[in-house]
Amino acid sequence: MFKKLIEESTGKSPWLFHINAGSCNGCDIELVSVLTPRYDAERLGFKLAGSPRHADIVVVTGPITQQSLPRVLRSIEQVPDPKCIVTMGSCPQSGNVFRGSYSVAGPLSKYVHVDVDVAGCTPKPEAVIDGLYLATQILQEKRKGMKK
């Protein structure tokens, strides 16, 4: 019974941790706008967590600069399982207009497994909710796979 309760709850209480890896701030603002009264992602249980240790979903924005790369990877390591990594905007997926810069360490998928990509520059808040919702479902699947 507890196992089922936990599995149910995992999908209903996803806490977000937001990493800005050199973002232009556009995606950061849109992520926060998802939590505003207009879209109110807290309806679905989303909450911004202050520490990676509390998070379920890591939202990465920005093109992963050389300076931020070790910090991003370390922050992602700190997140307890089951976790889900979501890239928001075009930058972490490919580098976007910053691609090829000496200071950009390239797409995030080179270093860690990315679960969900939310494309757009920046994505619409609805699209962000879509992506996070998909991430919670993946989270639930991961939780089910954990105890087997």
């Binding site: 309806r43 202050g50 307890p80």
Partner: protein, 343 residues
């Protein structure tokens, strides 16, 4: 003997103890979140959200930092939870009081026990060795210190008021059950003009004691990564969240018992009026009492925690200290002086 032991076990684990605290505490936290959301013109999370959060955290991996003292790190949350459950045992539900605790000088014990959750969270935070926790625990200590003075003053004025009225030998009583019983006979204390400043002061102490907005400088998630909880994950974090919810229940039910104790009076007569007698009557009375307590707790939460959360921004730690030791303490002191001169 065995029956007594069983009874105690039921007390501790089920009714005023763990299970009751768990359910009502988390429900209260859910209602709080919903109310805050509604005041911010949002739909807000479902009322059962804290339950989801708790069970989800139970299913997460628990990471113990390499620099942490593992024993303290894992035991501290349980210590805090245990202290809160014990604390809840001391608070009567109108007429109902665990017999063993009835005549203990319980206000002082409550004062002590209220410190233990704060101490446990400080212990746990300090054991991680995280600098965020370091900042958080120093702030938590200041907050606890700041709240303690007005709280003591409020309890003193209530104790003095009842003590004088019932003609206690020392002129003051520290028995919560005596206070509740007195209110059952002669009306709620909130109706007494001299105690209204004390009631307001206690209402203002509640968010500080539970670490709620705007007095959550110790757990500011946006600036110091939730302070002492920064390194916690999984089940221990869930236990801390649960403790926080139960603390809300404890503080609000303490408020209800201190100032609204008389409201439960009529219920026994009401049940008798329907025609129930004996065990059934006692059971229904008890159920109604619990219901009334919960409703009153929700009202106190709505006014004392949610509303304050919705209309204020987080205070700096020195502002919290100043606020409690000037405004709130002054209110409590005013009440104490009035009561002392027999008003």
């Amino acid at each position: 003997m065995i029956l007594d032991a069983l009874k105690t076990l039921i007390y501790v684990l089920i009714f005023p103890g763990f299970l009751f605290c768990f359910l009502t505490g988390l429900l209260l936290a859910g209602i709080d979140r919903k109310l805050v959301a509604r005041m911010q013109k949002r739909v807000g999370p479902p009322i059962l959200q804290p339950f989801y959060d708790f069970f989800k955290l139970c299913g997460k991996q628990t990471i113990v930092p390499a620099a942490a003292n593992k024993t303290v790190f894992l035991v501290a949350p349980l210590l805090g939870l245990a202290a809160l459950v014990v604390l809840q045992l001391f608070i009567p539900v109108f007429q109902f009081q665990i017999p063993a605790f009835a005549n203990v000088a319980d206000l002082i014990v409550i004062l002590y026990l209220l410190l233990i959750p704060a101490v446990s969270i400080i212990l746990g935070g300090a054991s991680t060795g995280s600098p965020y926790a370091g900042i958080g625990l120093s702030r938590e200590m200041v907050t606890v210190l700041a709240c303690e003075l007005p709280l003591v003053l409020v309890l003193l004025s209530v104790g003095r008021s009842v003590g004088v009225a019932i003609g206690a030998k020392e002129g003051i009583t520290f028995s919560l059950s005596t206070i509740v019983r007195y209110q059952l006979e002669s009306g709620s204390l909130i109706c007494k003009a001299s105690l209204i400043p004390a009631a307001i002061a206690f209402l203002l102490v509640i968010p500080g004691e539970t670490g709620n907005h705007p007095f959550d400088a110790a757990e500011a998630e946006t600036e110091i990564c939730e302070g002492m909880l920064a390194e916690y994950s999984g089940a221990p974090l869930g236990v801390y969240k649960l403790s926080h919810a139960i603390k809300m229940l404890t503080m609000t039910s303490l408020f209800v018992m201190l100032f609204f104790g008389g409201i439960g009076t009529g219920i026994g007569n009401l049940v008798a009026l329907i025609g129930l007698t004996g065990g059934a009557a006692a059971a229904v009375t008890m159920l109604l009492d619990v219901l009334v307590l919960f409703v009153l707790c929700v009202i106190v939460t709505a006014v004392g925690i949610s509303f304050v959360h919705a209309v204020t921004a987080r205070l700096k730690i020195e502002q919290i200290f100043k606020y409690y030791w000037t405004v709130v303490s002054a209110l409590a002191l005013l009440s104490l002086v009035l009561v002392w001169y027999g008003l």
